[in-house]
């Protein structure tokens, strides 16, 4: 499932295009390589050492630092899960016209039933395959006929000509937010846990590489498509779309009613998948940190505290969003705060993947080591800038 767009990436991508045209496309490329590097490492360590990310965090950073990372990571997962449930209710409301709060409860119950009764493999297949409907955004972005030479220029790191200093800060905020939304830490936690759920062995390392490259590149192509839609539809009329449903205007403009239905259905499954990933991630993190028995493959009776943890994650997420808080605002904050925990999550992973005693012949090569350290520096800089930029720009509003 990892790699598909969730509500935060969707909103930030469309807004990035609406505010700065194609000029932030390079951030998508930079973030994509970063998440591929660390996703591949997480999958490889899980397959070889059978160690998920929060197990490594506990062992390498000790209890106190690990506990801080666990609390921060689970707050971010909880807020993201809440935002995804809110996003689901928004899409269901567009489709049905029913009351928003009723649809929040309906989405919560549906997700609970799916995760309770489906095996891990079927959860992956259900949301992963139906989330592919999101490809309509890529098709719509292309059908709207962008200036491809300008699109190509956007992939070269640049700072656009803007009118004021506040706009430069806003651009920097979007660089950090977009980067963070692509490199969300829960993606590696979930991916490594999933590899152990699927009982990967060292022989699966090539499968791991193929999955991370295809999955994350597909997710990033969707992000590129959304930036192109924002740049082509909203930038010319100086509109900053705040609602996730606004992104569907791209497929509407390109393919009419069919495009609208495909876009809404795609978002429904992408948000649903992300909600499930975040609820399970919260439970994985907690169980792995404390050493509990965990895994969907064990069933509720085989991993009771893990099961209770994901049930609680869903329930808390539903309670947050049912208060009426704006899910888009919730996910914007959770994305900005998630960049702060990225270095604490990725450093132990890099250390273990580079440890020949643990990894044997599957230890990091020079390319993985170089890229790993490069991205660690990049995310440390992003982590230091995240909160100041959030405050200075009032959440990107300038």
């Amino acid at each position: 499932m990892g790699g598909f767009v969730e509500i935060g990436e969707l909103v930030f991508s469309v807004n990035a295009g609406a505010k700065f045209g194609f000029s932030l496309l390079w951030v998508v490329a930079l973030g994509t390589v970063g998440i591929i590097v660390y996703g591949e490492m997480a999958g490889r360590v899980a397959a070889v050492a059978k160690q998920p990310v929060f197990s490594l965090i506990r062992e390498r950073t000790g209890f106190t630092v690990g506990l801080g990372t666990l609390i921060a990571a689970n707050i971010v997962s909880l807020l993201t899960c809440a935002a995804e449930i809110g996003g689901l209710a928004i899409i269901l409301r567009l489709l049905s016209g029913w009351p928003y709060r009723l649809l929040i409860v309906a989405a919560f119950v549906a997700l609970l039933v799916i995760v309770w009764f489906f095996s891990f493999k079927w959860i992956e297949r259900f949301f992963g395959l139906l989330g592919l409907l999101m490809i309509v955004f890529i098709a719509a972005a292309a059908a709207l006929g962008p200036d491809w030479s300008q699109v190509a220029l956007g992939f070269i790191p640049n700072v656009p000509q803007v009118e004021s200093r506040a706009e430069y800060f806003s651009y920097a905020y979007f660089v950090v937010a977009l980067m963070s939304s692509i490199m969300l830490p829960y993606e590696t936690y979930f991916y490594a846990s999933g590899a152990i759920e699927d009982r990967w062995e060292p022989a699966d390392i090539n499968v791991n590489r193929v999955i991370v490259v295809i999955g994350f590149v597909l997710g990033s192509l969707l992000s590129v498509g959304l930036i192109l839609i924002g740049a082509q539809l909203f930038l010319p009329v100086k509109l900053e779309p705040d609602l996730p449903g606004a992104a569907a205007l791209g497929p509407v403009a390109a393919f009419g009613k069919t495009g609208l239905l495909l876009a809404l259905a795609g978002m429904l499954f992408a948000f649903g998948g992300a909600a499930v990933e975040n609820a399970l991630t919260g439970a994985y993190n907690l169980a792995q940190f404390l050493g509990w028995s965990w895994g969907k493959f064990r069933g509720a009776a085989g991993a009771p505290r893990f099961t209770l943890a994901w049930l609680v994650m869903f329930a808390l997420a539903m309670l947050i969003v049912v208060t009426g808080v704006d899910p888009v605002m919730v996910v914007e904050y959770s994305i900005i705060f998630s960049v702060i925990i990225l270095p604490l999550s990725y450093l132990p992973l890099l250390m273990v993947a580079s440890d020949e005693l643990i990894m044997g012949p599957f230890v990091n090569g020079w390319l993985a080591k170089t890229l790993g350290w490069f991205y660690l520096i990049v995310i440390c800089i992003a982590a230091l800038c995240a909160v100041p930029l959030l405050v200075i720009t009032h959440g990107g509003k300038g």
């Binding site: 506990r58 404390l290 028995s293 965990w294 509720a300 009776a301 505290r305 099961t307």
Partner: protein
């Protein structure tokens, strides 16, 4: 403490415990040592929710004990079978008193359809 003992403590602290069926059953939260300054012996590993919550900041401990439990479990060193990146024990978690919290939650979850 002599270097070899320090090495053993470093090697086992925070490690995942697996029972004889390879089921996760806690982490090594502390190590029990016996003897004088010249001859120290590791006699047990300490685990369980009570040992976990002892690591929490003091102000968070009451809440942590309510949520996770307060039992501390002593696993004799003779129970340790293999030490790798995880620590394999000779007996089942239930026999060592490491499955009580799971059993309590499982009893409640079993009331729901499809829990098996």
């Amino acid at each position: 403490m002599k270097a070899p003992h320090l090495d053993i403590v470093r090697m086992v602290l925070d490690r995942q415990l697996l029972d004889s069926n390879y089921i996760e059953c806690g982490r090594v939260e502390d190590v029990e040592l016996e003897g004088g300054p010249d001859e120290l012996k590791v006699t047990a590993v300490i685990t369980g929710p009570g040992a976990v919550t002892d690591h929490f900041p003091r102000w968070l401990q009451p809440l942590a004990r309510r949520v996770f439990g307060h039992r501390t479990v002593r696993v004799p060193w003779a129970e340790v079978l293999i030490i790798t990146s995880r620590i394999k024990l000779k007996s089942r978690a239930a026999a060592l008193g490491l499955a009580d919290e799971d059993k309590r939650v499982a009893r409640w979850l079993r009331k729901l359809p499809g829990s098996e």
